[in-house]
């Protein structure tokens, strides 16, 4: 079903060319089902929450990819450290580490060999991950700050929907009370007294 407000009034969320508009629509539909927005302001908040969550997912994906792409250099660095004998500074170790790190991604035998080398120092694959994270610290820190900021904005937007609904409900209750109390309502007798009378 086309969202009239979404398409004509509320600005559409721009997506990266690699992102799927259908997936974003599905995400927004899920929020709409959950929040059941009434009126343009609530729709605005649902759109905002969906956009924020979409961006959170984008940054989380980015975080994982950054760590994964640092794996090779992390493994190479780790292997150079563990293969090097005390007092040795040869290039041979670095070449060996580079070859093993390259093969680790494609060759099961190499993977096994790396695991055995690491096990010799009471290390396992988590040591590679730790090194990959260490190498990406500055980027990950920035990403984390942005994620924290987005998460706090998402929670605030959710709170704002509730707050808006509560204040609207209060306003409606006040209006209803005024009508029941008769304040500000033109009474029938008043209306009659204002009517011009024939001489």
């Amino acid at each position: 079903m086309p969202r009239i407000n979404e398409l004509t009034l509320l600005p559409k969320l721009p997506l990266l060319i690699t992102e799927s508009a259908d997936e974003f629509d599905a995400l927004r539909d899920a929020f709409e089902r959950e929040i059941k927005p009434r009126g343009i302001i609530e729709q605005m908040y649902v759109h905002d929450i969906s956009s924020i969550v979409w961006e959170i997912l984008r940054l989380r994906r980015c975080k994982v990819v950054l760590i994964n792409s640092a794996f090779r250099s992390a493994l190479q660095s780790l292997l150079t450290q563990v293969l090097r004998q005390p007092g040795q500074y040869g290039c041979d170790v670095e070449d060996q580490a580079q070859a093993l790190a390259h093969a680790w991604f494609t060759d099961q035998e190499a993977k096994k060999q790396v695991s055995e080398i690491l096990a010799g120092f009471d290390l396992d694959e988590s040591a590679i991950e730790a090194e990959a994270i260490r190498r990406s610290f500055s980027d990950l820190e920035l990403l984390d700050r942005m994620l924290t900021s987005l998460e706090s904005r998402r929670n605030k937007a959710l709170g704002c929907v509730a707050e808006y609904r509560a204040s609207l409900a209060q306003q409606l209750r006040d209006s209803a009370d005024r009508i029941i109390d008769g304040k500000g309502v033109l009474r029938l007798e008043d209306a009659a007294s204002n009517r011009p009378t024939a001489a």
Binding site: L9, P14, I40, D48, R58, C62, V65, L143, A157, S167
Partner: protein, 181 residues
């Protein structure tokens, strides 16, 4: 730190200056305080004016109440500001993904390099120009690695934009809060 005499000399020299004279100079100096344009009003772009009016009308309905209309305008304005910041974010990531960086590659990375080149010319040597680095060649070719790398390269800019986005969202929230009062 400048001495008292230097400060006095600077002031004397500054008084002699009558500012830019050429049209180009005046044009340039008129934009001295301009940084990025994100704080400029959204209505300054003509295309948004109609969108803004439509959104205001949708929020406020058929009311003639000037206060209510003004509050609705504040909500709509902040909402469109938010949309603008989001567009800028995506555009920066896309640009970094296409070119590898936001600024075009420079032949010289520092003034020192230029001075060295000029010295080489003075000494009658034929200088070798450094090859500008092609940043797009250093981008991963596959997704999602390419997008992630593009995001990584524009992270400082995204962080700055995040502040604007938060500010616009806070303005919208305040405007919504006042709308029902």
């Amino acid at each position: 730190m400048a001495s008292v005499r230097q400060i006095a000399a600077n002031r004397r020299n500054a008084r002699k200056s009558t500012g830019p004279r050429s049209g180009a100079g005046k044009n340039r100096s008129s934009r001295n305080a301009y940084r990025h344009g994100l704080r400029s009003s959204i209505t300054s772009t003509a295309g948004f004016a109609k969108q803004l009016d439509n959104l205001v009308r949708e929020i406020a309905g058929d009311t003639k109440d000037a206060i209510l209309l003004e509050r609705a305008r504040a909500i709509a304005q902040a909402e469109l500001e938010l949309a603008r910041v989001r567009r800028v974010k995506v555009a920066l990531i896309e640009r970094a993904s296409a070119f590898g960086e936001l600024d075009p590659p420079q032949a010289f990375s520092s003034v020192t390099q230029i001075i060295r080149l000029l010295n080489a010319i003075d000494r009658g040597r034929v200088p070798s120009f450094p090859e500008p680095v092609d940043s797009s060649a250093t981008m991963p070719s596959q997704e999602p690695d390419r997008s992630a790398e593009a995001i990584r390269r524009v992270l400082p800019e995204l962080r700055k934009l995040d502040r604007y986005e938060r500010r616009a969202a806070a303005q919208r929230d305040r405007a919504v809060l006042f709308y029902n009062f």
